[in-house]
């Protein structure tokens, strides 16, 4: 169970770890917007992806997130990328970018391959970004930040606090349930259950022997928790103070400036239809 690396908080004390969680969510959204921007030419797109990849990978390195772990996650995405490629090949593309003529009435457009590559690169970068966010921010910090963002919804009578409490409780119990899973798996393994190998029928039985006890204890636990909260006088409508208050530091302003600079720069490139390749060629010529 300890091999779940994706989305797990890792306690280091890096620059990114110390940033304000509200800002981290904001920065992640901005960088994701950057990933989805489209530039003047194909080559320009790839150059910008390269630059973004360097930025994102260096953020990952500085916050102790393993890049290797990112590429391990890719194993699961191969199928998806292949699927996108097939769809792209079957859909008519942009003829101006060139094509392979396979039979007289069947062409594979280069644009299909480019589009697939875009999607693949975007996926990798997005995965990297979300890994940085979850590895450097505790679930509680995340919900705290989400609650802050949802604050305006209070004016339309949206139960912001209740939803935030539900999310944080759910997140709080992930490690507990993982531990429980580990324990039940071990208990069943000593009764001879093999969770790795076996025929489909055996595997099904193995999973049932895990899921039923897990559900039973999860219901038990939530019942206990509800009682414990009520016994301590929990009232969702009551006004509450916070134990941890998010504070905006200079480092947050500084890195926000950096991110906005990137976004601003990229938007300028789009507006001016700047093409690095064409520009270099024009200089050389």
């Amino acid at each position: 169970m300890n091999n779940i690396t994706l989305g797990k908080y890792v306690p280091y004390n890096s620059f990114v770890h110390r940033l304000d969680p509200r800002y981290k969510i904001f920065a992640m959204i901005l960088l994701m917007v950057c990933i989805f921007l489209k530039f003047a030419s194909i080559w320009m797109n790839f150059i910008i992806y390269g630059v973004l990849a360097i930025i994102i990978f260096s953020i990952m390195i500085s916050s102790h997130v393993k890049i290797l772990a990112l590429f391990k996650q890719l194993k699961m995405m191969w199928f998806m990328i292949l699927f996108i490629l097939v769809i792209n090949v079957l859909v008519p593309g942009d003829e101006s970018l060139g094509y392979f003529q396979i039979t007289s009435n069947w062409k594979i457009y280069f644009s299909a391959i480019y589009n697939t590559l875009y999607v693949a690169i975007r996926l990798v970068l997005m995965l990297g970004l979300s890994m940085v966010l979850t590895a450097t921010t505790t679930p509680l910090q995340l919900t705290g930040a989400l609650e802050w963002y949802m604050y305006p919804l209070k004016f339309i009578r949206f139960p912001v606090h209740e939803v935030a409490m539900m999310i944080s409780l759910a997140l709080r119990f992930i490690p507990t349930i993982l531990e429980e899973t580990d324990r039940i798996m071990k208990a069943q393994a000593s009764r001879g259950v093999d969770f790795q190998r076996g025929k489909l029928k055996e595997k099904l039985r193995a999973i049932i022997s895990l899921i039923i006890p897990l559900f039973v204890s999860a219901f038990q636990r939530s019942d206990d928790l509800a009682n414990a909260m009520e016994a301590r006088g929990y009232n969702p409508q009551a006004k509450r103070t916070r134990y941890r208050v998010n504070k905006w530091h200079l480092r947050d302003s500084f890195s926000m400036f950096f991110i906005l600079l990137i976004l601003g720069g990229l938007i300028t490139l789009i507006v001016t239809k700047f093409d690095l390749v064409a520009w270099i060629m024009s200089i050389c010529a």
Partner: protein, 286 residues
């Protein structure tokens, strides 16, 4: 079936910031057909130690030898892991959480079926185990979730002993039971031991250690402090005080009597009856 640990180390979450060394250089032999008690603080590595015995955790370095089946860090996929687990039964803390089948009988026969025993034989074995733990036949077709806490635990324990393991490991089997249930549980384990099974039990209850144990293993902070006969643990006042182990009532009483002129040998004192015997002996000599 002797269990031998040599130079065993175990580290959790190795090479991460959460790295934690749970066991440090354990050298230990648990004799055949003994009733070995493992005691120590929470977090001293007791549960980690016993999980090495049936390869639920693989040692970071060093070896565990269970009657010739060797588990060490080099073995990625153990070939005879099933054979090992068949010979070593492990009952976790609060084993009632492992129940899942529709009926008690089905749940208990789940184990044997996993090890390739056919349906009829598995049911037979299950009935035998349920009789041994004292579950009434009228409950066999009930859902395990309808039973009381104590009954659930018995059923769960039956689910492990139905495999007739040569080594039975118990992780605080009496936790949360009333004194009556706890006593009956211990009686059950003695019965199982008499059938030739080696029993390894994690416990905090020193009265049980002195009453039923043939050996006691003391762990602290992942290190093996001592392995001795239970009464020896209480001979040296300082050593067990530093381990914050409670002295069993009968030992305390015997010591108090000795301070006032009695000559009771602690070796023979395991429970109230034996203490009474010892005092009677003393009277006879006078």
């Amino acid at each position: 079936m002797p269990v031998v640990f040599s130079h065993l180390n175990y580290i959790y979450s190795i090479k991460t910031p959460m790295e934690f060394s749970a066991l440090k250089d354990i050298n230990l032999q648990i004799e055949d057909n003994s009733f070995t008690m493992i005691v120590g603080h929470t977090g001293s590595g007791k549960s980690t130690l016993v999980q090495q015995i049936n390869a639920l955790l693989i040692p970071t370095s060093g070896i565990v030898d269970v009657n010739g089946i060797v588990v060490d860090c080099n073995v990625k996929k153990l070939k005879n892991i099933k054979e090992l687990r068949k010979g070593v039964g492990l009952v976790f803390q609060f084993p009632e959480y492992q129940l899942f089948e529709e009926t008690v009988l089905k749940d208990v026969s789940f184990g044997p079926k996993n090890f390739g025993v056919d349906n009829k034989k598995a049911t037979e074995l299950a009935k035998e185990a349920l009789n041994l733990v004292g579950i009434d036949e009228s409950l066999f077709d009930k859902s395990p979730f309808e039973l009381s806490g104590g009954q659930k635990r018995r059923v769960a324990i039956a689910g492990v002993i139905t495999l007739k393991p040569k080594v039975l490991i118990l992780d605080e089997p009496t936790a949360g039971l009333d004194p009556q249930g706890s006593r009956e549980m211990m009686k059950l384990f003695t019965k199982i031991k008499e059938q030739g099974t080696t029993i390894i039990m994690i416990t905090h209850d020193m009265d049980n250690v002195i009453r039923y144990g043939t050996d006691v293993v003391v762990l602290a902070k992942g290190e093996l402090i001592k392995k001795c006969r239970p009464y020896e643990l209480f001979l040296d006042q300082d050593s067990f005080n530093s381990l914050s182990i409670d002295e069993p009532l009968v030992i305390k009483m015997a010591k108090r009597l000795n301070q006032n002129g009695y000559h009771i040998s602690l070796e023979n004192v395991i429970d109230i009856d034996s203490l009474v015997q010892e005092i009677k002996k003393e009277k006879r000599y006078e």
